[in-house]
């Protein structure tokens, strides 16, 4: 029975309050603290000392941060790989291949595998002296590849792990999208004489556009802030082979330079924000 007291104006706010307080303290508060630390020299053991923009100047005038940021940008190449792989996987699962009843489970397994466990397993595969991959290449007469120590293989190894780990999730997104494509549309196109590829390009793919935009935006943001796969898979490679977030980790937790690490974090946030805005504008523009 609805009463006036049930619709007390404070009720929704009361429901929202616990989550808001938690978010305010642990997300917004922490973010603001990082911005403050970025203008200080701070080691956690001594009080923060205001240094103005010195941290930003150091990051932007030395190569290290810019190289890692470029590596992060290069990491974006994993996005098209993920899109293609996950779309192909979704189509395969959607086609209900009778020969492969556990296909969906198999393809989704990497998603639920902890990133560190997956990356450690891949390290064994990539091992440069006794790894499975180099052994396999050796069988066909190809020289061993320096997967874990030489450019550009280091970044590519980590990207391979990211693609392996992530494509199952995006497959599910595409699968959900495929289920919304009206079957009669595809059938009508087929009756009109369209071949299977034509049906895919002219009917299915345009209908999947919202899913495609979602996958591209989410996977590219994830690529820019990748950590686990790089940190574990190519641990020990020069930091100049790695991306921005492992550098931030190193600055903060291995060197104790929280101020510098915070400034790097703020700069990375600005880059990701700008990238997201551009991405969303482009998506909105295409819609119009």
């Amino acid at each position: 029975v609805s009463t006036a007291r049930n619709h007390h104006p404070l009720t929704p706010y009361a429901f929202l309050a616990p989550a808001s307080v938690v978010l305010a303290i642990f997300i917004l508060g922490a973010a603001l603290q990082v911005v403050w630390f970025s203008f200080t020299s701070y080691s956690a053991f001594t009080p923060a000392e205001f240094v103005g923009v010195a941290n930003y100047r150091e990051l932007l005038t030395k190569d290290l941060f810019l190289i890692c940021l470029l590596n992060s940008a290069a990491y974006l190449f994993v996005t098209p790989v993920i899109v293609v792989l996950s779309l192909l996987a979704a189509i395969a699962v959607d086609a209900r291949l009778r020969a492969l009843p556990g296909l969906r489970l198999l393809l989704f397994l990497p998603v639920v595998t902890p990133a560190v466990v997956g990356a450690l397993a891949w390290r064994l595969v990539f091992d440069e002296n006794n790894g499975l991959l180099n052994d396999a290449l050796g069988v066909v007469g190809i020289e061993p590849v320096r997967w874990l120590s030489e450019r550009p293989w280091t970044l590519m190894s980590a990207m391979l792990v990211t693609a392996w780990k992530g494509f199952g999730f995006y497959m599910m997104v595409f699968l959900a999208g495929l289920l919304t494509v009206p079957r009669d549309l595809r059938e009508a196109a087929a009756i009109d004489g369209a071949t299977r590829p034509q049906v895919f390009w002219t009917v299915t793919l345009p209908a999947l556009r919202p899913s495609l935009v979602l996958v591209v935006v989410v996977s590219s943001i994830s690529a820019l802030k990748v950590f686990d796969e790089v940190f574990v898979t190519i641990a020990g490679a020069p930091i100049t082979h790695q991306t921005a977030v492992p550098l931030i980790y190193q600055l903060a937790f291995e060197r104790g330079q929280f101020g510098l690490a915070s400034a790097a974090g703020v700069l990375l946030f600005v880059v990701i924000l700008a990238f997201s805005i551009v991405n969303m504008r482009l998506s909105a523009g295409r819609k119009a």
């Binding site: 007291r5 049930n6 001594t46 006794n130 020990g236 291995e254």
Partner: protein
């Protein structure tokens, strides 16, 4: 004493109380009327939630108990669960000997120490006593995490601890050397040799050089190339990139990578002898004489590859023998132990674990007393009986456990103890007691990784490292070569007994401990 994962008991109780407040507010409103959430209930819930969060964030624990007793917290490194009984026993004995002081023990994983300690400092929850490896010790002194403890000790540390280990714990402060930690256990490097593999490669344990397995790094490097040609396998490996041992090996060769100037210490990496030394290692790596893991994986690759029979020789701490015994019994059975591989000075490196007192402690005297207790001769002797490590206390080395020959049933581990105890007189903690040392090593290893993986020129790389080192040294407290281990050369006579010509940093131990393990093979 109850071991905890991370939170203090006080926090849990208070956070739990706040949670109970929230529950009561919710229940009260349910029974109070029609509204799902009344205004008063909502405010109570908010207040309780905020209190819980405030406790979690700000910390509600009190250091001192109600009865006036002090509680001090000690963090150890990767000792639980293997040595729970030992640590708990020593803490209980300390509590019994020190009325009014309670001890809380927290063990942290080795790789998580820096992160956890920094996080604890940021949260205002630093432990009172903290166990640090020598490589991290200087960094935490530089960050202001530790306090000098000379004034807190009622004994002369020089009379208790091995000189080299103690020297590493002192930092230069103008003319004075201040003590920032007490040395705990040490693990002088031993050479573990897979006798089957070296025999297959045409090498023997007898002698030094030619067909006898070399006892020096550069000698081994030469033999490794021949071994590779003969067997297509690796004779040995060393961490050259990640966790690079090269700065330490330079000191062990008598090549000092720092020089003293009127402005303080500066880099000396463009010294032709140093560049030539680096070129030898870089060339060996590029030619495939050393495994690829030497560039990108730290110490762990040594024991892993040795266990798998993929390298024949490694230089490591004797404590890893127990792991090899369990993981690879067949390799363990063929293992012989010799004293650690050395440089031209004839001295092997001795990593040191230390116990420091936190700068945040409100009980420095009790904290220093706990550190002294845990590092005392009696505590260390008991610890050495549990695990194959070596003590940093002089008195412990006089115990029959180290002086008498090992029992046959102790096997390789017993022999290792004999060999290492004998080599302690020549072992040196080659870790410089400079606040900048961790950063100098990081700068070096990052550049040397690029030499190995990106094919950079060694000379140019050393130039780049030298410039970076100078920037780091200029911005650090002024230091002199007093802080850099520069021991004298050990002269060998017939490859048997050694004579010390020590300048600084050598470890004096009672003579007559023998030269165990030189002959190699262990039954």
């Amino acid at each position: 004493m109850r071991r905890r994962a991370g939170q203090r008991p006080g926090e849990q109780i208070r956070a739990g109380q706040a949670g109970a407040e929230f529950d009561r507010a919710e229940v009260g409103t349910r029974h109070g009327g029609d509204a799902l959430v009344s205004r008063r209930g909502a405010l109570r819930a908010l207040a309780a939630g905020a209190a819980a969060l405030a406790c979690g964030v700000g910390g509600c624990s009190r250091r001192d108990g109600a009865g006036g007793s002090a509680t001090i917290e000690i963090w150890t490194l990767a000792l639980s669960p293997f040595f729970d009984n030992y640590i708990k026993g020593r803490i209980e004995a300390f509590e019994a000997a020190t009325p009014g002081v309670r001890v809380t023990w927290v063990d942290v994983p080795y790789d998580a120490l820096q992160r956890k300690l920094i996080a604890a400092a940021a949260a205002g929850k630093m432990p009172d006593v903290v166990n640090l490896p020598d490589l991290s010790f200087a960094r935490f002194v530089a960050l202001g995490a530790l306090r000098p403890i000379d004034a807190e000790l009622d004994f002369d540390p020089a009379s208790v601890y091995l000189e080299s280990a103690l020297t590493m714990c002192r930092m230069e402060r103008g003319e004075r050397m201040e003590l920032y930690a007490l040395p705990w256990y040490v693990s002088p490097q031993a050479t573990l040799i897979n006798t089957k593999l070296i025999e297959a490669g045409g090498l023997t344990l007898e002698g030094d050089g030619a067909s006898g397995l070399s006892r020096h790094w550069l000698g081994l490097l030469g033999q490794a190339a021949e071994y590779k040609n003969r067997t297509q396998e690796f004779l040995f490996s060393q961490s050259l990139g990640e966790e690079s041992q090269l700065p330490i090996m330079l000191l062990a060769e008598g090549l000092v990578p720092l020089r003293e100037t009127p402005e303080g210490l500066r880099a000396n990496l463009k010294d032709p002898a140093i560049t030539a030394y680096m070129e030898r290692w870089a060339a060996a790596f590029r030619e495939g004489v050393l495994p690829r893991a030497a560039a990108t994986i730290g110490h762990s690759h040594l024991t892993e590859m040795y266990q798998q029979g993929r390298v024949a020789v490694i230089a490591t701490g004797p404590q890893f023998l127990d792991r090899i015994r369990k993981a690879a019994p067949s390799v363990y059975e063929t293992t012989a132990v010799r004293e650690g591989v050395s440089g031209a000075l004839g001295r092997n490196h001795m990593p040191v674990m230390v116990l420091g007192v936190s700068s945040a402690t409100t009980r420095p005297r009790e904290a220093a007393a706990l550190a002294a207790w845990m590092t005392s001769a009696a505590s260390q002797l008991e610890f050495c009986r549990v695990v194959p490590i070596m003590p940093s206390t002089k008195a412990t080395l006089n115990d029959p456990y180290f002086v008498d020959p090992p029992r046959p049933e102790e096997g390789v581990i017993g022999e290792a103890r004999r060999v290492i105890a004998a080599s302690l007189s020549k072992s040196v903690a080659f870790t410089a007691s400079l606040e900048t040392w961790p950063d100098l090593r990081r700068a070096f290893q990052e550049e040397f990784k690029r030499v190995m993986t990106d094919g950079r020129d060694v000379g140019e790389a050393m130039g780049r490292v030298e410039r970076e080192w100078d920037v780091l040294l200029k911005s650090a407290p002024r230091a002199t070569l007093r802080s850099v281990p520069r021991p004298g050369r050990v002269e060998s006579r017939g490859g048997e007994r050694s004579r010390l010509v020590d300048r600084t940093g050598g470890t004096p131990v009672p003579p007559g401990k023998g030269d165990a393990g030189r002959s190699g093979r262990i039954a």
